[in-house]
C-alpha cells in the first residue's frame, strides 16, 4: 500500500507528520514523504505520479479551511477522486463538518492513537490488483 504524507501550509513543524510516516512504515506501508510547505498543486501532482492509495495531510498553520478542500478538488480534477484524504493537526472541532462535506474522509486530532489511523487507512483504501 502506498500513502502520501504531505504538509501543506507555511508552518515549519513536521514532527507529527514524521510520527505518522513512521507508524505507517511500521504497519508495512510504503510512505511517500514530501516534506514541508507543499502547495495543494504539488500534493496533487505527487499523488498522481506516485499512484497512492491514500493522502494524509498534516496541518498546523490554521489555513486548513482553504488548503484541505483545495487538495481534494485538485485530486478530483486529476481523476483521483477515489483516493481518500485524511488530515491531522490542530483543527478546531467546529471546522470539521465543513471539511468533511468538502470530501476530507477523516480528521485526527492530537493524541489520536496511531493504530486508529492505520486501521482507518486499511478500511478505506480500495483493493489493488484488478
Amino acid at each position: 500500500m502506498r500513502i502520501l504524507i504531505a504538509k501543506p501550509g507555511l508552518d515549519g513543524h513536521d514532527r507529527g507528520a514524521k510520527v505518522i510516516a513512521r507508524a505507517l512504515r511500521d504497519a508495512g506501508m510504503e510512505v511517500i514523504y514530501t516534506g514541508l510547505r507543499q502547495t495543494p498543486e504539488m500534493i496533487a501532482a505527487a499523488a498522481l505520479q506516485e499512484d497512492v492509495d491514500a493522502v494524509g495531510l498534516s496541518i498546523l498553520s490554521g489555513a486548513h479551511n482553504t488548503l484541505l478542500p483545495r487538495v481534494v478538488a485538485l485530486l478530483r480534477q486529476n481523476g483521483l477522486g477515489d483516493v481518500p484524504v485524511f488530515a491531522g493537526g490542530i483543527i478546531p472541532e467546529e471546522d470539521i463538518p465543513d471539511l468533511k462535506a468538502a470530501g476530507i474522509a477523516a480528521i485526527f486530532g492530537p493524541g489520536t492513537p496511531l493504530a486508529e489511523i492505520v486501521q482507518f487507512i486499511r478500511d478505506h483504501t480500495r483493493p489493488r490488483h484488478s
Partner: protein
C-alpha cells in the same frame, strides 16, 4: 537529440502511474501492457546515480533534471529507498529534494521501495524504467538506495552510471577497494565546498590512474582514467572516467556533469554501448530464467519433503547444499516423485 513531444500522447500520466504500480506488484495485466509497449522503448538514455547515504544524490538528480529541462529534454526519475526488513514498509523521502519539479509536466518522478532486493535497486526497477522509456521520456535517472560498496546492480540497468562521493567519507584505500567505484562512468565529488573535497577528488583520480590499462594495451594513452569493469554489462572501450566537483545545492558544476552524461551517451553510440547492452540483457534474461525455474521447482517440491530437509539441516545432519542437491535430484527424477510424500 531532437526533443519528442511530451510523453502523454498515448498514455496519460495517470495510466503510467498505475502501470508502474502494477509492474511493481507483478500484476499480469501490467506486464502484458509493458510487453505490448516494449518495442516503443530503447530510445531513452538511462542514467544511474549511486553513492553513499547523504552524499547528495537526490539534490544532484534534481539539479541535473532542472538543467536538462532547460535544454528542452523530458526527464523521468525513479528514486529507490530501502524497505524495512521487519515490517516491509518504507519511507520514501527523496522527493523532499525535488519539490520544484513536482508540477513540471515534462518530469515524472516515482519513488520506489527496494522491497528487500539486494544491490541498491528493486527487482522491478528495470521494468519501471522500460515503462518510462516506452512512455517517451528522453532522460531517465535511477537513483539507488544509499549505497555502500557492493550495490552495483544499477550498472546492469543503466547506460551511464554516475557515482557520487562526498568529502571525508574514507581514506584513499577506500577508493581502490572493489565495488561501487568500478562501475562509475562519471565520478562526482559533491559538497565540494567542504573541507577535504580536493583531497577526495585527487584520491579518486589517483585510484583511476592506478587502474589505467597498461600502456601496451592502450597504445600509450597517457592519463587515461578508465576503470576496468568488474561487472558484466559494462565495458570501458576507451572511455575516460571524469572526476567532477559539484555543489548541488547551489547548482555549481552541474553543467559539466550533464555534459559528461551526454558525452558518455555519444561514446556508447559509437559502438561501446552494443556490448554493454548485450551483457545487460543477457543478465536480465538469466535472472528471469532463474526466478522462473525456482518458482516452478518450488511448485513441484512437496512441502513435507522440503520441511524434512530443512529440519535435517537444523539438526546438522545435512549441509544446506546437500539438502538443495537432494531436492534437485527429486526434480530431475521428475514426475515419478509423488507430491505430498
Amino acid at each position: 537529440m531532437p526533443s519528442s513531444p511530451l510523453p502523454t500522447t498515448t498514455l496519460t500520466r495517470r495510466d503510467l502511474a498505475r502501470l508502474i504500480t502494477g509492474i511493481e506488484n507483478g500484476d499480469a495485466g501490467a506486464l502484458r501492457t509493458l510487453r505490448a509497449r516494449y518495442e516503443q522503448g530503447g530510445r531513452a538514455h538511462i542514467v544511474g546515480v549511486t553513492g553513499a547515504p547523504g552524499s547528495g544524490k537526490s539534490t544532484l538528480v534534481a539539479a541535473l533534471t532542472r538543467l536538462a529541462r532547460s535544454r528542452g529534454r523530458t526527464v523521468a526519475i525513479v528514486s529507490v529507498d530501502p524497505s524495512s526488513p521487519f515490517s516491509g514498509g518504507a519511507i520514501l523521502g527523496d522527493r523532499i529534494r525535488m519539490r520544484e519539479l513536482f508540477e513540471d509536466e515534462g518530469v515524472f518522478i516515482r519513488s520506489m521501495a527496494n522491497r528487500g532486493a539486494p544491490g541498491g535497486i528493486a527487482r522491478a526497477t528495470a521494468d519501471v524504467a522500460a515503462a518510462l522509456d516506452a512512455a517517451g521520456y528522453e532522460l531517465i535517472f535511477i537513483e539507488t538506495v544509499g549505497a555502500g560498496q557492493a550495490e552495483v546492480e544499477v550498472a546492469r540497468v543503466a547506460d551511464t552510471v554516475v557515482v557520487v562521493e562526498a568529502p571525508g567519507l574514507g581514506d584513499d584505500i577506500q577508493a581502490i577497494k572493489a565495488g561501487i567505484l568500478e562501475i562509475a562512468d562519471i565520478l562526482v565529488v559533491n559538497k565540494a565546498d567542504r573541507d577535504g573535497a580536493e583531497r577526495t577528488a585527487s584520491a579518486l583520480q589517483a585510484a583511476l590512474d592506478l587502474s589505467m590499462p597498461s600502456a601496451s594495451a592502450t597504445g600509450g594513452h597517457h592519463g587515461a582514467g578508465s576503470l576496468r569493469r568488474a561487472v558484466p554489462g559494462t565495458d570501458d572501450g576507451g572511455w575516460r572516467v571524469p572526476v567532477l566537483k559539484t555543489i548541488a545545492t547551489e547548482g555549481n558544476g552541474i553543467e559539466a556533469v550533464l555534459d559528461a552524461i551526454q558525452r558518455h551517451r555519444q561514446h556508447l553510440a559509437q559502438g561501446a554501448g552494443v556490448q554493454r547492452r548485450a551483457q545487460g540483457m543477457e543478465h536480465e534474461v538469466t535472472t528471469r530464467l532463474r526466478d522462473l525455474l525456482l518458482q516452478q521447482a518450488l511448485q513441484q517440491i512437496a512441502p513435507a519433503r522440503f520441511r524434512a530437509l530443512v529440519e535435517a539441516c537444523i539438526a546438522r545432519e545435512l549441509h544446506p547444499d546437500d539438502a538443495a542437491r537432494a531436492l534437485l535430484d527429486d526434480l530431475s527424477r521428475g514426475q515419478e516423485q509423488a507430491p505430498g510424500r
